[in-house]
Amino acid sequence: MADVVEVFRSPHVLEYPYVRSTGPIVGGYLSGLRDGKILGATGAAGRVIVPPTEYDPDTAEELSELVEVGPGGVVTTWAWVSDPREDAPLSEPFAWALVQPDGADTGILTPVAASGPDAMASGMRVTASFLPSAERQGRVQDLRCFVPEEAS
């Protein structure tokens, strides 16, 4: 019965240019990226959280103090993308990683531009690579990626 009826299919696009107000903490982080700096928030027990959250991830207390961290840091975990998706932040093969910047106690989700999986390791040193200042707009993409420290 089911196979005699043509079932119609159609492409469907869900698209909207959302514009979000950031509040001071997220806005501060994005302003910092625009200025070529990575800022974290000082959380409970002095833990520095980056990207800064408006509220402490564990205790929920409101955070207000931003401190500069990085630009160097350590890869805490990583995943090698040999065939980047069209929407991936880098078009060449790269690693997604959590990078803990110097002075921070948490990791940033970021691409790492490395020559190959053999050039990646947990614990390796990396440093931030920003877009040229003229291209930075105050968004996370301003921090283009991290690169292995010896390559910088």
């Binding site: 950031t22 990583w78 090698w80």
Partner: protein, 361 residues
Amino acid sequence: MSAPKPVVGNRPVAICSFAQSPSLRRVDQANEVEMLMPVIAEVFAKANMTKDDMGFICSGSTDYLIGGPFSFVMALDAVGVWPPKSESHVEMDAAWALYEAWVQLQEGVIDTALVYGFGKSSLGDLSRVLAMQLDPYTMGPLWPDQVSLAALQARALLDRGLSTEQEFAEIAARSRHDALKNPNAQVRNETPVAELLEEAYAVSPLRRHTLPPLSDAAAAVILVAGDRAYDVVDRPAWITGIDHRVETHAFGARDLAVSTSTAMAAKIAGVGNGPVDIAELHGPFAPQEVIVRQAIGLDDSVTINPSGGPLAANPMMAAGLIRMGEAASRIWDGSATRAVAHATSGPLLQQNLVCVLEGES
């Protein structure tokens, strides 16, 4: 006969009927309502009940799978909520809809509830859809895909020495093998572990076999409280413990190799109060099964995912509820006396639910 005393809550509530549609890569001949309708009919038929016997109805689904608002509204037509029904919906896996229904049943005003969930991963690009779950200011704009995120978690596990790629492959091989006995499963075959380990990486350290399939399916469950459960099924699967917990969304601030929320929920649900025969775990990626199993504290004697689990079929918004239905099925058929079901939601096991089901011994 009497129901075991629950650890959480006061009133014994049992899973008494369960139905699911076969998980398929793409269900094309049916829209969501049409996919769900036979499942609802079957779950009622198995219980010898109708919608008019239900004290409450609760569903789980998400609008982003279909790309338009109010997908749960349309789905209601698969039940036919007329005359009007007491009904609710969570924008979560239907395992949490079951929780909401279980809470209401605790009060003793109603005795029965229908719970269902449905999802079609085939319509959109699931990796991109799931990126919509991420912090919209600092993570979402990078569109990280779910496989890469799961790979970060897998690496954390490997780095800690808590698992091996060999173990990931063994989990996949076991899931596919067990799925051969499950007609609703999607990935069903015998593949030697050695062969799986020869596969290329999808995103290193995850090879293709460690990824759950993309699935379209629906599932439904009927809950019955108190002695009425015996009218429906000889050996009801009593919920003796159920709890769920959430962790921070800032997963860079979490230890990805462990699941503290699962451990907490398992403790409150009383998993450790007795031996566990089988567990249905919803760690969609193979390494996540390891994390969840360790968090719940299940030793090697426990049979994991006899249905094949999410590596054999992973319909979004229903896969968690299916774990509960599959676990209950083992109680009904007598192959288990005490079972654990687990459901997860959110990126990298952010939110987890643990349920203990028991049959009279």
